[in-house]
């Protein structure tokens, strides 16, 4: 009798262990762009690297799931999520009302401002508002005044933005009629065109600009203009999820909260961006 009990317990134990193991092996597929350094980029040897790759691995460890990170072109990154090609997006995607109509977000995990990148020798280097910070959501009047002041110098210039981004929306709303706007597929492309002198300025996320300024080819360029967050620039960067995926959203939210609280996000932010853009408060 004792023998049967022992075998039974052993069987039960192994069944439980197997159950636990299969829970461990639950795989989440996360898409990133792979062309948005230092957020996510394809490093030497073709491996995905960057802030979001590190953060994704940390969050997955916290959620006790296995993660597979795949690269997906920015253009199709939301349609492919809704088509269930993967389960989550971590690609520097800002949480905006417009995107919320189609997908859901967990987070934000970071919140950084935008800025302009121009040549040091260009007249645009003297843009008004450099060094000032505004939130379009909470201090709209002051922020728009600063944007107006910074626009003065952009008259008749050509500004490059990445298409389908909050910066493209920002340019559409505030720069249309002032400057000519050109839309690029990736930030690398507008950086190349700025270096080639086809455009006078690049409007992008400050972290992306900092990443570019780090490269030796861009030592003669600077970031200028007021630092704007909030409003149509979104409520920070979050994990894009399919609507109705509430369980995944909950576990991502918990993991993000823990990662912010114990300083992991700040550490990773300092490592990749040289500034702390972890959400405050």
């Amino acid at each position: 009798m004792k023998f049967v009990k022992t075998v039974g317990l052993a069987l039960l134990g192994s069944a439980l262990a197997m159950g636990a193991a299969s829970a461990q092996e639950k795989t989440i597929k996360i898409a990133t762009e792979g062309a948005y350094a230092p957020w996510n980029f394809t490093g030497a040897g073709g491996k995905l690297e960057g802030f979001e790759i590190d953060l994704a691995n940390d969050l997955c460890a916290r959620m006790k799931v296995k993660c597979e990170i795949v690269a997906q072109d920015w253009d199709g990154i939301i349609p492919a999520l809704t088509a269930k090609k993967y389960d989550a997006i971590m690609a520097g995607m800002s949480i905006t009302d417009e995107r919320k109509k189609t997908i859901d977000f967990a987070g934000p995990y970071v919140n950084g401002p935008n800025g302009y990148m121009v040549a040091k020798s260009s007249p645009l280097a003297k843009m008004a508002g450099t060094g000032q910070a505004y939130n379009l959501g909470t201090q709209q009047a002051a922020a728009e005044k600063a944007i107006e002041a910074s626009k003065e110098i952009l008259k008749g210039k050509t500004v490059g933005v990445q298409g389908s981004t909050i910066h493209a929306n920002f340019a559409d709303k505030y720069l249309k009629g002032t400057a000519e706007i050109r839309e690029y597929k990736t930030t690398e492309q507008h950086d190349l065109d700025l270096a080639a002198g086809r455009i006078d300025a690049v409007l992008a996320d400050s972290t992306a600009i900092m990443g570019t300024l780090d490269k030796p080819e861009f030592k003669d360029y600077v970031m200028v203009g007021p630092s704007i967050t909030g409003g149509l620039l979104g409520a920070g960067v979050g994990v894009g999820l399919r609507k109705g995926d509430d369980e995944l959203k909950k576990s991502f939210n918990e993991a993000i909260k823990a990662a912010i609280q114990d300083g992991t996000v700040k550490t990773l932010s300092m490592k990749w961006f040289k500034v702390d853009i972890s959400p405050k408060g």
Binding site: D75, G163, S164, E183, K185, D193
Partner: protein, 241 residues
């Protein structure tokens, strides 16, 4: 399917049609001139002319147009000081001219082979007959060889024109907002890829439908010998009724 949305999409994308047609026709027209030149070089039987033409066709037919556009725009953009010194930068600075250049160079490679095929298909006895009538040199080319060659090459050339209309969609990677560029922008705003691309595809279909009809009309006009002689019968039949 949301038809109101698709109608709005159609109207938005129609804004890109002038640029799509502009890029297609400019590059096809310039490409045809270059193609004619290349075809004549290939048929000259002079090695210093034949070989460069062969090499050109090999390179531009053998590499993807996407790569060509990318290299001409972003690649040459890196040699700005040199291009400025040569006075070419005002040309290469503009995405429009880079797109026209890439499309022209590409279509010229394909079209030169089509034209060469057309020229070689001109029956020898027709040329001999023309010579017997005392025609030679440019007169022979203009009156006999060229019209027959054009007629032979037209079906293949029509396909090439259609391919070029579709190829202009690649210009969107260098910031040209033609139909596909606008479609991509609209998708990024609405995330409704399926509807937007259906409408974009429909627009290309309409454009190419019109172009195929025009080419068919030209073919008909160039082939009077293949048409049936006008019939007199119908009038008699009408009298019976």
């Amino acid at each position: 399917m949301d038809f109101a949305f698709m109608r709005d999409t159609f109207l938005t994308l129609m804004g890109g049609v002038p640029l799509t047609l502009n890029l297609s026709f400019t590059s096809v027209a310039l490409g045809a001139v270059l193609a004619m030149l290349l075809a004549l070089m290939r048929m000259s039987r002079i090695k210093v002319l034949d070989w460069p033409a062969q090499g050109y066709v090999f390179v531009f037919r053998g590499t993807p147009l996407l790569v060509q556009i990318f290299l001409i725009y972003y690649g040459l953009g890196q040699f700005r000081p040199t291009l400025q010194a040569w006075g070419l930068w005002t040309f290469f600075r503009e995405p429009y001219w880079c797109a026209v250049l890439a499309l022209t160079l590409n279509t010229a490679a394909y079209a030169s082979e089509i034209i060469r095929g057309g020229l070689q298909s001109v029956p020898h006895n027709q040329v001999e007959a023309a010579r017997a009538c005392g025609m030679s040199g440019f007169l022979l080319f203009r009156r006999i060889v060229f019209p027959i060659a054009v007629r032979q090459a037209l079906p293949a050339y029509g396909s090439e024109i259609i391919l070029m209309v579709k190829a202009t969609s690649l210009a969107s990677i260098i910031t040209m907002m033609e139909v596909t560029g606008l479609a991509a922008k609209l998708i990024s705003q609405t995330f409704r890829a399926v509807e937007v691309f259906i409408v974009a595809g429909l627009i290309y279909l309409i454009l190419n439908f019109i172009i195929t009809r025009i080419i068919m009309a030209i073919e008909w006009w160039l082939s009077p010998h293949l048409r049936r002689p006008p019939a007199i019968e119908p009038r008699l039949e009408a009298a019976h009724v």
